[in-house]
């Protein structure tokens, strides 16, 4: 496992934008797009510390998936990034006979991600969505974008992240976003409850291998929304739970609902400073910790919604937004496609 303390110091921050009308927004020139992916294919983006590891991962994939396409993730030579892991992507669908009993394809894909990331040393699946792709690495944001030729992609939701690594190592696998299926998380802050969030997720079969706190947010949303069936707002209210004094002041139904939410999902509470952007198939969500110890600003212009750590980041790409606001602590900004 290669997680030497590579550090490129830049500021901490995140930015996201979404077109509510699902207009494709270019990362730059349109050459290639994520439309390679169709609704039944999952795209695994995998990084290999050691190219040799590739074969054991591919053996595993071949045994379990129909592989439609294999390729290296296109990159451009960038002077500041002389070395990188081997970066591959696979467009796959689970073999029907592997889906035993009631197992859904999504569950099968999650199992594969957990298995590869925890059992095959030096290989990391860092993107496993149908409709979502993640690109990440160690370097300055502009260099990473150039390296992955981000300007050649287009999508209706973009999130981005830059980091000044402090408490956990900066390494290729540990860069943001953290993704699973179509969940993609970028996060600024520190989750001080990580220890119990991790142990709680482990009880449900998640394996936390990426040495960083953000991973828990991704898996927690997968657990609460996809597996437990909570809607996005309720899931966000488990992650950044209202205070008891506010719950006690609600009407009886509200008190009952939120008391139970905290009783049952206490271990899912993300405690500590954070702002999180959470992209998924149906939209984009921004959320702060319950006492807003990290900044988060939102803005709208036409059908576009922007969210970022700082207003200046939004104004850099949208100089005249129609509306700019600071979401309140723990109150999610939920944007869905029209």
């Amino acid at each position: 496992m290669n997680h030497d303390y590579q550090k490129d110091i830049s500021g901490c921050g995140l930015t996201g934008l979404i077109s509510r009308k699902k207009k494709r927004i270019s990362g730059g020139q349109i050459v290639k797009s994520l439309c390679l992916m169709t609704d039944h294919l999952y795209a695994f983006h995998v990084m290999y510390d050691d190219p040799e590891v590739r074969w054991s991962v591919e053996d595993h994939l071949k045994a379990n998936y129909k592989i439609e396409k294999v390729e290296e993730i296109p990159t451009a030579p960038v002077k500041a990034i002389p070395i990188s892991p081997l970066l591959m992507r696979y467009f796959v669908s689970p073999l029907k006979n592997k889906l035993v009993a009631e197992m859904q394809p999504d569950d099968f894909v999650v199992e594969t991600v957990m298995k590869v990331n925890s059992e095959i040393s030096g290989a990391y699946i860092f993107s496993s969505g149908k409709n979502m792709g993640a690109f990440k690495g160690v370097g300055n944001p502009a260099e990473i974008a150039e390296f992955f030729r981000i300007d050649e992609y287009e999508g209706w939701t973009w999130t981005a992240h830059t980091r000044f690594p402090t408490n956990t190592p900066g390494w290729w696998g540990g860069a943001h976003p953290f993704t699973l299926l179509d969940w993609s998380i970028v996060h600024n802050g520190e989750i001080s409850s990580y220890g119990i969030n991790k142990r709680y997720l482990e009880m449900y079969g998640y394996k936390l291998t990426l040495l960083t706190d953000t991973e828990v947010a991704t898996y927690m949303l997968d657990l609460l929304i996809r597996r437990h069936g909570l809607d996005i707002r309720t899931a966000c209210q488990a992650l950044a739970a209202p205070f008891w004094k506010n719950i006690d002041a609600k009407d009886e139904a509200g008190r009952e609902a939120f008391t139970a939410l905290r009783q049952v999902y206490g271990s899912a509470l993300l405690n500590g400073p954070f702002s999180i952007l959470f992209g998924h198939s149906n939209g984009l969500v921004g959320i702060n910790d319950r006492i807003k110890l990290r900044p988060l600003v939102a803005a709208t212009k036409d059908d576009l919604v922007y969210m970022a750590s700082e207003e200046s980041a939004i104004r850099a790409i949208c100089p005249k937004p129609e509306k700019v606001w600071t979401p309140r602590a723990g109150e999610p900004v939920i944007v869905e496609f029209e």
Binding site: T166, S192, G195, I196, R199, L230, E256, A260, V264
Partner: protein, 502 residues
């Protein structure tokens, strides 16, 4: 006259110059150390237990209780206690009894654990300026919830929640029966529990009617003796606890000597006055986990499904036992470490059986998580919780709440002298003698216990604030925020804690 060859432990001394012959020491000593000799106070120091009642009530500060420095010949193998115990046993042929938790110098792992704090990147939180939440619910939790959207778009709970015990902070009072402690001591616990938003536990001695006003702050206990158990009793509190074992005496039953059973205790226990109340070692209807399940559900049927707690002593195989208890339907597993206190236990049992609570919490929490049933029951940890720091560490290891008894008794004057089984407690705590129990004014001492609970509450909030978290559930099981010092690799592995520096 028979004179024991076991050396007296303490030397009670009175400065004859300072002494004004007021005889308060004679009046205050429950053990009869002092008597009046016509012109001065006579001292029978072999009866002294160092409870310091006389010291505190001497108006002239004339009394000093010193350790007896007279010792047997130093011997690294045959220590003082080893020789003294043999002499006592040779004289009596009995099993030496003791009270309180073990005082032997076993390692206390809480003292080898340090708590994290925030610096720079994750801001600490000031509990005086920001909300800091300690509220704790004990009971079975479903693994997931279902909501429907109401007409106004707000979530409405569809899942039926099992009953929960609501605590203002993750701390409750351990079971201590009426009989082992005085009614006044129980009243102190009940009043403080009521005031602090927590619960006390009747122990196995039944329920005195004076405690009925506090029923929403009471857990009633069913132990092997079934003293005072009837449907009204089972329904009197917020929950029922089945006592399988006690940390200080795993594998043996309770023992209340007849001297501590006057009429009122006898009535609460539903036994004759002055008879020894000996609880059987096992519950005679529990010889398997299936039997336990039957009792749990019999109690639930009787109480309209109030939460049922099962209390066990922390023993070697505690993780597997706890898992069985959870699967048998318990809502709460109460773990009592071997350092836990007792009103009366053979010292050989107290000092040599069981395992520490720290290991037990870690092992049980791990096991329940591995089996995916941690949500099925809350864990109460007890047995040697001396401070809010111990409480925080126990919770970080995986407990939902801690229970205290010795600490609560200390607020009533207890000095942990360990002679609870004699029924002579000069502080009026572990005695039924009316002249002694009258010393413990429930109103006054409830205030002190309330002070203690509030002080720990503030300290816990400070600890959470330093950790940069504002709800107790983010500390619970969060072993990432603990580090071990001076612990071997295997112990660290069992505790699931990294060494300091990592």
């Amino acid at each position: 006259m028979f004179r024991s060859l076991a050396l007296p432990e303490y030397l009670a001394t009175i400065d004859p110059v300072k002494c004004i012959r007021c005889k308060r020491c004679i009046q205050n000593c429950g053990w009869g150390v002092y008597s009046w000799g016509g012109d001065k106070v006579l001292i029978n120091t072999s009866k002294c237990v160092n409870c310091l009642r006389c010291y505190h009530y001497c108006p002239e500060e004339a009394i000093e209780i010193r350790p007896n420095h007279t010792r047997y010949k130093p011997n690294a193998c045959w220590g003082y206690n080893a020789i003294r115990n043999i002499k006592r046993q040779a004289e009596t042929g009995g099993i030496p009894l003791t009270g309180m938790g073990s005082d032997l110098p076993y390692p206390i792992l809480f003292d080898n654990l340090l708590i994290d704090a925030c610096q720079v990147t994750n801001p600490s939180i000031d509990p005086l300026r920001e909300p800091m939440e300690l509220r704790t619910y004990l009971g079975k939790k479903p693994s997931k919830l279902e909501f429907v959207r109401g007409a106004d778009g707000k979530p409405v709970l569809k899942t039926k929640m099992p009953p929960q015990i609501k605590l203002s902070l993750p701390l409750l009072f351990s079971p201590m029966s009426y009989g082992s402690i005085s009614l006044n001591a129980q009243k102190v616990l009940a009043q403080a529990a009521h005031e602090c938003g927590t619960v006390m536990n009747t122990g196995e001695g039944g329920l005195h009617e004076d405690l009925l006003p506090y029923r929403s702050n009471i857990i009633v206990q069913v132990a092997s003796g079934r003293f005072g158990v009837n449907p009204d009793y089972l329904n009197a509190g917020v929950a029922v606890e089945i006592k399988i074992g006690q940390g200080a005496k795993p594998g043996i039953g309770g023992h209340l000597p007849g001297e501590k059973i006057p009429l009122d205790v006898a009535r609460a226990r539903m036994i004759p006055v002055g008879t020894d109340a000996i609880s059987p070692a096992p519950q005679h209807d529990i010889y398997s986990i299936e039997d336990l399940r039957q009792l749990i559900y019999a109690i639930k049927e009787t109480t309209g499904y109030k939460p049922v707690s099962v209390k066990i002593a922390a023993v070697h195989n505690v993780a597997a036992i706890a898992s069985g208890i959870v699967r048998a339907g318990a809502d709460i597993v109460y773990l009592d470490g071997f350092r836990g206190g007792t009103g009366a236990a053979p010292s050989i049992i107290r000092d040599h059986l069981g395992i520490p609570i720290e290991h037990a919490i870690a092992a049980v929490d791990d096991r329940l998580r591995q089996e995916g049933i941690r949500n099925e029951a809350s864990i109460i940890a007890a047995g040697g919780i001396r401070s809010s720091a111990d409480a925080a560490k126990a919770i970080a290891l995986g407990a939902d709440a801690v229970a205290i008894a010795t600490a609560a008794l200390i607020t009533m004057g207890c000095t942990t002298c360990g002679k609870c089984y004699t029924g002579c407690c000069s502080w009026g705590i572990t005695t039924q003698k009316p002249e002694l129990t009258a010393r413990l004014d429930p109103e006054i001492f409830a205030e002190r216990l309330i002070n203690l609970v509030h002080a720990w509450e503030h300290e816990l909030k400070e600890i959470l604030g330093a950790l940069g978290i504002n709800a107790i559930e983010s500390l619970r099981g969060n072993r990432e925020r603990l580090r071990g010092v001076g612990l071997d690799t295997q112990t660290l592995d069992i505790l699931g804690v990294k060494p300091a520096g990592r």
